[in-house]
């Protein structure tokens, strides 16, 4: 029997969230009301046909799409790499289709705009085209350049001791300074003159940026969760009660961690920061705290804890402050640690199992098993931080 939660204190109907993210959530509900699709996602053959149709007319000369291969992984996007030749030119590309059953509701337009904006300050895939409507690929999609590189070591693979990617001493030393530098540049970038279509712009010295994010995740949980969870109930109340003012509004990646950048394994150079679908405008401490989540870290050579498998906390903050010119407030860092665990749990134990149940994703085995497992780790960490439980 469904439980009526409309009159409870978790009703979020009055809280504002960003305009186009509200539209994404509204659209998602409409899609669910229509019922499940015959098959979530495309076949490679279907992707090939749709790509050919989409690119013909957008590129000069005869268009030939070849080597369409679905990429492994991808919680929010169904991704294919492919090769396109037109006239005497050719390029390798990636098609990222917003999965209707993604574990987070995200927006192709925002991702495309953010990639266009940050391309001048840090390495990212070059955005070529966006298809904001589902007509072309069955769901909103974007096409970017294909970037060479690996997300995790393939040679001399270190023994994994945690959940995050582990790089080993040589690569850690090479990657860590770049990891901090890219984040610092992103957060200190003056974006005021940029046309950030698809984003609502929050005012600094207010809690607007945070309010909109909390409202988004609250709405996601209320739409997706099969039943209440005591940790979510407790955390939601804590987050609203303790929200800090956002002193400086930065461009945020939203999922900045080990595993979300591609690097050259030989030189250790970061080729591109990827997976921008959770980007938004807000408090830099959100990205910093996310990169510092214990789950992504691993011990270094001397047993010290390396955030994201790369750098200890003091050095991370020191370097970040030096490069960005922005202060790091440890208290706000703590707040955003809780915030990040909160939204991650909503995605992992709320949205993922719901979409698996609705058969909206090709990743349903992972959504029913791995994601709730990781969610349990994050819930335990939330309990520990908020109540001291689980120690």
């Amino acid at each position: 029997m469904p439980v009526d939660r409309s009159s409870s204190s978790v009703n979020d109907g009055e809280r504002r969230l960003e305009t186009n993210l509200q539209a994404v959530l509204d659209e998602r509900l409409k899609r669910r009301d229509k019922g499940g699709e015959d098959r979530p996602g495309l076949t490679a053959e279907d992707a090939h046909a749709r790509l050919t149709a989409f690119l013909t007319g957008r590129l000069d000369g005869d268009v030939e799409v070849t080597d369409v291969v679905q990429l492994a992984g991808g919680g929010a996007n169904e991704s294919y790499r492919f090769h396109v030749a037109h006239g005497d030119q050719s390029r390798r590309c990636v098609l990222r289709i917003k999965s209707p059953g993604a574990c987070c509701a995200t927006d192709a337009q925002r991702e495309f705009v953010m990639l266009s904006t940050v391309g001048s300050i840090l390495p990212v895939p070059e955005p070529y085209w966006v298809a904001p409507e589902p007509d072309d690929f069955g769901a909103p999609a974007l096409i970017t350049s294909f970037v060479d590189g690996v997300a995790a070591p393939t040679k001399d693979v270190p023994l994994a001791t945690g959940l995050g990617t582990v790089y080993g001493p040589r690569l850690s030393k090479l990657l860590a300074p770049q990891f901090v530098q890219h984040l610092a540049r992103l957060h200190s970038y003056d974006w005021a003159s940029q046309p950030l279509d698809g984003f609502d712009v929050p005012r600094p010295q207010t809690t607007e940026a945070l309010d909109w994010r909390l409202a988004f995740w609250d709405r996601s949980w209320n739409q997706d969760a099969f039943e209440p969870h005591p940790t979510i109930t407790m955390t939601r109340e804590w987050l609203w009660r303790n929200r800090p003012v956002v002193d400086h509004v930065s461009l945020l990646h939203g999922d900045y961690r080990n595993g979300n950048f591609l690097f050259d394994e030989d030189t250790g150079e970061i080729q591109a920061v990827v997976d921008w679908e959770l980007c938004y405008l807000g408090d830099r401490h959100s990205d910093l705290a996310y990169a510092m989540l214990p789950a992504w870290g691993s011990p270094g050579e001397n047993g010290e804890f390396l955030n994201a498998g790369l750098m200890d906390t003091d050095r991370f903050i020191e370097e970040y402050e030096r490069i960005s010119g922005l202060e790091v407030d440890r208290q706000r860092l703590d707040y955003y640690m809780v915030y990040n665990l909160y939204w991650a749990v909503i995605s992992l134990i709320g949205t993922a199992p719901r979409n698996a149940d609705l058969q909206l994703t090709q990743l349903d085995v992972m959504y029913n098993f791995i994601y709730p497992g990781l969610g349990a780790v994050f819930c335990r960490e939330l309990d520990r931080r908020l109540t001291g439980a689980g120690r």
Binding site: V69, Q362, V365, I370
Partner: protein, 174 residues
């Protein structure tokens, strides 16, 4: 119940690993990743599935206690709170016995029943018709459960779903 769900899950896992995975072409990265995930998910089910009922019983008791505590402190407790607390729930000690313990105990009783039935049937006592009737009714119910349990194999699709059969047995219906 033979075979157990655990045995079936184990066989599915073996078939996946030994028959399906090696046939995947090297370029089928997504499919290969899915096979690995399915294998891991099967391991998870093999470990956990037998305890789902106990999990539910423990959780039921946990939230019954919390709801009582909160209802006693909240300024405005509505009838849906008192109603749900008045409903029958599982006894908390239902969670004490793991499924394998129950099935192992049942198996020992089956062996003993077989021995005693043979003992009684070998005699010429007046109890034989009654014992035969008991045995026949037990056999009928056993087969009814099995036919229902395996109905999706296709041969006994006319059987009611297992929740109906077990619900009727548990309520004492004929």
């Amino acid at each position: 119940m033979i075979p157990t769900v655990t045995q079936q899950l184990e066989s599915i896992k073996r078939s996946l690993v030994t028959s399906v995975a090696p046939e995947l072409p090297p370029e089928a990265a997504f499919a290969r990743q899915q096979v690995l995930l399915i294998g891991a998910a099967l391991d998870f089910l093999i470990e956990c599935h037998a305890h789902e009922y106990r999990y539910a019983v423990v959780e039921n008791a946990e939230y019954r206690t919390l709801l009582k505590e909160l209802a006693g402190r909240a300024s405005n407790s509505s009838t849906d709170v008192t109603d749900v607390l008045a409903e029958d729930g599982p006894a908390p000690n239902d969670a004490q016995l793991p499924l394998p313990t129950i099935t192992e105990q049942t198996r020992r009783m089956k062996v003993l029943c077989e021995r005693l039935y043979a003992d009684v049937a070998a005699g010429n006592g007046a109890d034989i018709p009654a014992v035969l009737d008991l045995q026949a009714k037990t056999a009928e119910r056993q087969v009814e459960r099995e036919a229902s349990w395996f109905r999706l194999a296709g041969f006994t699709m006319d059987s009611p779903p297992i929740d109906v059969v077990l619900g009727a047995s548990a309520s004492g219906a004929p």
